[in-house]
Amino acid sequence: MDTIFSINGPVVKVKNARAFSMQEMVYVGNKRLIGEVIRVTESFTTIQVYEGTTGLQPGEPVEGTGAPMSATLGPGILDNIFDGIERPLKKLEELSGAFIADGANVSSIDTQKKYNCSMTVNVGDKLNAGDVYCTCPETLLIEHRCMLSPLSKGGEVIWRAPDGEYTVNDTVVKIRLANGDEQELTLCQKWPIRTPRPCRQRLHGTRPLITGQRIIDTVLPIAKGGTAAIPGGFGTGKTMTQHQLAKWCDADIIVYIGCGERGNEMTQVLEEFSELIDPHTQRPLTDRTVLIANTSNMPVAAREASIYTGITLAEYYRDMGYHIAIMADSTSRWAEALREISGRLEEMPAEEGFPAYLPSRISEFYERAGYVENLNGTEGSVTIIGAVSPQGSDFSEPVTQNTKRFVRCFWALDKSLAYARHYPAINWNTSYSEYVGDLEEYYTKNVNKDFISVRQEISTILVEENTLMEIVKLMGTDVLPDDQKLLIETARIVRVGFLQQNAYHKDDTYVPLEKQYLMMKLITDFYALAKKALADGTAYDKILSLGWADRIVKVKYDIPNDKPEMFDEYTKQMIQDFEKLTEVA
């Protein structure tokens, strides 16, 4: 029996052990705390423990499980909340009360609940890796599809259970493998969390993840299967933005990872999402959501694991042919967990105490996103949206910089916008999206053929304003010529009327693409008309006195989402007003 040699925080060492392999899951001590082997040398095996180590003594047993840290995958994952190593928090509450005790051994998914299963295979069918053999409604929204493990060589179905009610551990199908062995298939399977689940091939993502947030959908879009980072100092609205995306984006399933964040925030997601109704399906949002919560005071090693647990769950549903969006809030806490463990291992630190392998870990994580063709031929995607909390709001720190290298969308949150309560506080000058080109075709086909050109016009206005602001900051707006004043005013309309979005307003919290386009179009129409009027000799003040600037700013509230035809009236009236103006002139 191997025993504990030393304990230092979450790091435990075993002396002269031979039996352990790297990344093997182990039980530590009499309380059977869950741990993982992270280093093996001739004399010492080092283990990180995912629970509190208070009270642990040298000499207590350490027992290997022979398998790497794995997630249990099967029906019962959705509408649930787990800790970093996939233990259901509701079950833990039943076991140990409001405060989480160490060493609680519970199964990840409910083993008692029965699901109404329909078999999709018959005796004699050939099953290959990734093929679906059974389906059941997991929630009213999502059909769960049980698949043959991606590692299986495949085999022939020799028995199938009749359709009916089964628990996750009941055998529903038996297959004979190529070598003649029989294998029993249940509704669930295990998968090591640090290994990406394979797919047949990666596809080029050309469909946007529609979020209903104007600055994202039009200015800085993200594709399904894409990656985005939201960096921002505290109080700039990272969590708020993530919540908005989780609520409104058109993914089939949301995996929300609360990694080292506030307990109250997770409670808020739990409460809010069970009350909110998904606009696409009229069901509570929890039906399509799974939460992973490792709050900032929960054990730090489990924080490191939570990210991998989350993405493994996402990949599993992707394999069924769903589109998944992962919200990871915040990846900086995960990086800090890496740093903490690395420090305890006395590894040589690189930048700011972070281990030298930080960039490779970050890239491994983001590379698990993608739009893919699954082994069973279906298409699915995993989109990763990771929040980054830079130390001291300094974007040059290692986590932000390394994340920037591996994501294609960068939504930089800005302190001064947040101070002015301009939400979402995404700074349009420092942010970028590399997906615009990929998505051009979709927008042109599905929204409007002018979408891209109007979008470009809006972007140009903002860029020009940015250059002009250098002068304005020094001399004020009064000294500018009229056409530049008009540009500044139009940019204000774009900022206040378009980019700024009110998450608490019933219409403004989610805006369909069509309305987004019409709003942009109204602004560019106004700009064109006003420019023309100026050229025709109308005074700038006269144009302002028409009051259209303020009307356009309030369009987001005044025109309901389901009445796009009102835009036509607006445009007509605006054109008339301008005509009158030039006639007078």
Binding site: F99, N297, D550
Partner: protein
């Protein structure tokens, strides 16, 4: 039979090492008896086979390799708890120091607490009326929230904390219990005394439990102080259903104690020499606020920290801001112009505010009024920046209006005096009156309906003159 170990094998700063010890558990507490009979407490911070590293709370002064006997208690650090703790004064490690003798414990609890299961939390929604306009209107304090005060040396953060504690209508309508737990880490004697005196003057001393570690007390004890205070608070809140306001000052001293201890342990430092796990460590304190399902009590935290060199990006305020649910930032410039409380409105924030205000909580126009005040005041900053370049005379009429608004806002809204206790109605009406000094078109965060109801330049004129 009780095992006692004679002598030590190494002493290094606050750490001592014992060799050839048996059955020592990680994190357990040991008692070290000196040859002169005095006792000190120590905690096991690392064990390796038969070697244990201990952290001595009261410091290692006077310890030698031979003059001690050490006894392990087999338990992590526990605090004796009782309802009688209110009205008493304790040392940083939880020993009574007011000369009234030991308390009669109803229960012992591990001071490190356990993480609260997010499933068992109730999301905080009830606002606390502090009577301070800037806080109530713009960064509303919610029961069960953790809202720190970011301050600097020489600013009036202590006065503000006392005013909040005094005016906060935290108790339920049915007059349910309300208590204050005060934890002082490394504060000056004067500061501890100021709080004690202020609580006495307002007659609330019998509702206050004080845990005091002065700046000349041992630093390791400082690491225990907030944990003892919060264990006491949790006990009163969740087992006796009381509403507890926890004031912790000064978190910067606490973090410095962590740094001192970490460096003597030879750990790899993170930013500015603070240990890499400072975030997790601070979180284990701040996260102990909230409301637990099935209990009607609550723990609300107001930690106070001084930003070294007024730098909000310093690791301590920075990490704190990432954990807490907002912050109240104090401003030196406002303080110097005689404004009290010198709350810097723009960087201040309450994250829980959005769900605790509006109809049924404060007033339905609250969020609109607050948003517009924020937006307007942020434009004041732009106008001021411009005025400092081209002079106030040269500003456009719009910018001049903002300059005027900014002055009034600071004079009448932020500034309010130590004894002034405003109701939420007074505060919001004042806010609307101030907004009414601006041209109507500038109020772009307000809808027509509310403009009609609240925009009233004549009233503003009557209030503030021309």
């Amino acid at each position: 039979m009780e095992l006692k170990y004679v002598g030590l094998s190494e002493i290094n700063g606050p750490l001592v090492v014992l060799d050839k010890v048996k059955n020592v558990a990680f994190d357990e507490i040991a008692q070290i008896q000196l040859s002169d009979g005095s006792r000190r407490l120590a905690r096991v911070v690392e064990v390796e086979q038969e070697k244990a590293v201990l952290q001595v709370f009261e410091g290692t002064k006077g310890l030698s390799l031979t003059n001690t006997t050490t006894k392990f208690t087999g338990k992590p650090m526990e605090l004796a708890l009782s309802k009688e703790m209110l009205g008493r004064i304790f040392s940083g490690s939880g020993r009574p120091i007011d000369g009234l003798g030991d308390i009669i414990p109803e229960k012992y609890k591990d001071i490190n607490g356990s993480p609260l299961n997010p499933v068992s939390r109730t999301y905080p929604r009830n606002y606390i009326n502090t009577g301070i306009s800037s806080i109530d209107a713009l960064m509303t304090l919610i029961r069960g929230q953790k809202l720190p005060i970011f301050s600097g040396s020489g600013l009036s953060h202590n006065k503000l904390a006392v005013q909040i504690a005094r005016q906060a209508k935290i108790a339920d309508d049915n007059g349910q219990g309300f208590g204050i737990v005060f934890g002082a880490m490394g504060v000056k004697n004067d500061v501890a005394d100021y709080f004690k005196r202020s609580f006495e003057e307002t007659g609330s001393l019998e509702r206050v439990a004080m845990f005091i570690n002065l700046s000349n007390d041992p630093i390791i004890e400082r690491i225990l102080t907030p944990r003892c205070a919060l264990t006491c608070a949790e006990y009163l809140a969740f087992e006796h259903n009381m509403h507890i306001l926890v004031i912790l000052t000064d978190m910067t001293s606490y973090a410095e104690a962590c740094r001192e201890f970490s460096s003597s342990k030879g750990e790899i430092p993170g930013r500015k020499g603070y240990p890499g796990y400072l975030y997790s460590d601070l979180a284990s304190i701040y996260e102990r606020a909230g409301i637990v399902k099935g209990s009607t009590g609550s723990v609300t935290q107001i930690p106070i920290l001084t930003m070294p060199n007024d730098d909000i990006t310093h690791p301590v305020p920075d990490l704190t801001g990432y954990i807490t649910e907002g912050q109240i930032v104090m401003d030196r410039h406002l303080e110097q112009t005689g404004t009290y409380p010198a709350v810097s409105v723009l960087p201040s924030l309450s994250r829980l505010m959005k769900d605790g205000i509006g109809e049924g909580y404060t007033r339905e126009d609250h969020s609109m009024c607050a948003n517009q005040l924020f937006a307007a005041y942020s434009k004041v900053q732009d106008a001021r920046a411009l005025a400092s370049v081209i002079g106030e005379e040269e500003l456009s009429a719009g910018d001049k209006a903002y300059m005027h608004f900014g002055k009034l806002f600071e004079e009448h809204f932020i500034n309010q005096g130590f004894d002034v206790n405003r109701s939420i109605e007074e505060t919001l009406d004042l806010g609307w009156a101030l907004l009414s000094t601006l041209p109507k078109a500038e109020l772009d965060r307000v809808d027509e309906e509310h403009l009609k109801k609240f925009y009233d330049p004549d009233k503003a004129k009557a209030l503030f003159g021309e």
